[in-house]
């Protein structure tokens, strides 16, 4: 009688199983199909192309924002430095040719009232009006002579009827009738008006 050793049988079957498993591993192929690799390579290229684009756009946006911020900041600081100078320039009368006005319509000059606290306040208001008015343009009158030096000219604020202003070419309605307007006149030392602008 031939006796079977159970341990030897176990080892034998283990060896057979290992051999069979190796065979199974070998039969499983080398890996994924080539199309899968090609598809993944394409996906990789697309992903990084998109990533590069996003990075460029982001950097461009940041650069643009920085440029705008720096520009705004430099403009702000420049205007802070040049603020008073601009005011001086604005104070200069601007002479603009106007259409045929008549010279005979210069009205009375507004006289300066006596000094008092109340009137000083009014004066301040008038000064602010003058400053505002100074920003508007002057209309040249026919007697304007560019050769006259600016030092010989002065500005006089007067109240004149609307009809007179209209005749001078100022932008008022002729229907305003007897209504009076405050206006600034550029006059020479001998009192000849060269330009006018409306205050009110």
């Amino acid at each position: 009688m031939h006796e079977i050793d159970p341990q030897a049988g176990d080892l034998k079957s283990d060896a057979r199983l290992s051999e069979a498993l190796r065979g199974l591993a070998a039969s499983s192929g080398r890996g994924a199909p080539a199309e899968l690799g090609a598809g993944l390579a394409t996906a990789f290229r697309r992903h990084h192309a998109r990533r590069r684009l996003v990075r460029r756009v982001t950097i461009g946006t940041i650069a643009a924002v920085l440029a705008v911020v720096i520009g705004v900041m430099s403009l702000g600081s420049r205007s802070a430095h040049q603020g008073p100078g601009k005011e001086i320039v604005k104070e200069q009368p601007v002479i603009v040719p106007a259409k045929a006005p008549e010279r005979s319509t210069v009205a009375k000059v507004v006289t300066t009232p006596p000094q008092s606290a109340k009137k000083q306040a009014k004066r301040k208001t008038a000064n602010s009006n003058l400053a505002a008015a100074s920003r508007r343009e002057f209309l040249a009158l026919p007697g304007y002579d560019p050769a006259i030096p600016a030092e010989e000219l002065s500005i006089v604020r007067v109240r004149v009827p609307a009809s007179a202003l209209w005749q001078m070419g100022a932008p008022v309605s002729p229907d305003s009738g007897a209504r009076k307007f405050m206006a600034d006149f550029v006059v020479s030392q001998d009192g000849t008006p060269y330009a006018v602008r409306l205050v009110q």
Binding site: L21, S28, G31, A43, H47
Partner: protein, 190 residues
């Protein structure tokens, strides 16, 4: 697997910069083991392809998900493949494990005789074995796929499966016993 972790790190660094050659090198290095692992776990080539694609798409889109201090890149990729395969298999209801209780009760009757393998043709034997591996419960199928079919070391498999090497050895021993039982049982059925 993961024979050159330093080189893997360098390739990964290049991959993040958009170097396609680095991506190709990593793909060539890991696609085979990952594909075969997914194939042995699912028994389905479509699933294996899907899992392989997902693993490498993750590497392309979110390579920073891998943390070098937690282990080699290969283990990380296998971990991702393992989770994906599990999800796909559950979704497709392909997981039909042998009842462990049945195996316990029938173990002694079949384990000593695997002559059936020598009696079958090579193709029949491989088909029988493939079915037997697929019929193993997941935790046993994993160790067979990793250690027997992919020839991964116990230590690497343990790191991947987040258990000790002793547990891997124990599971593998049990898995082999189950395979022998299954194959002997099929011999009796013939």
């Amino acid at each position: 697997m993961a024979d050159s972790p330093l080189e893997d790190q360098e390739l990964l660094r290049q991959l993040r910069k958009g170097n396609e050659t680095a991506f190709t090198a990593l793909y060539e290095r890991y696609q085979g083991p990952i594909y075969r692992f997914a194939l042995h776990m699912s028994g389905n080539t479509a699933t294996a392809e899907e899992v392989t694609q997902e693993v490498f798409m993750l590497l392309i889109g979110n390579s920073k998900g891998y943390q070098p201090d937690k282990g080699p890149l290969g283990n990380y990729l296998f971990g991702v493949a393992r989770n994906l395969t599990r999800r796909v298999v559950q979704r497709s209801r392909l997981d039909l494990p042998i009842e462990e209780e049945w195996l316990d009760s029938g173990d002694s009757g079949f384990t000593s005789d695997l002559d059936v393998l020598s009696e079958l043709s090579n193709t029949e034997m491989l088909e029988l074995l493939r079915k037997a591996v697929l019929a193993l419960p997941e935790q046993y199928r994993e160790v067979v796929a990793l250690c027997d079919l992919e020839e991964m070391s116990y230590a690497d498999a343990a790191a991947l499966l987040e258990c000790s090497p002793g547990t891997v050895a124990s599971r593998l021993h049990r898995a082999r016993a189950m395979l022998k039982t299954k194959l002997s049982f099929q011999k009796c059925m013939k």
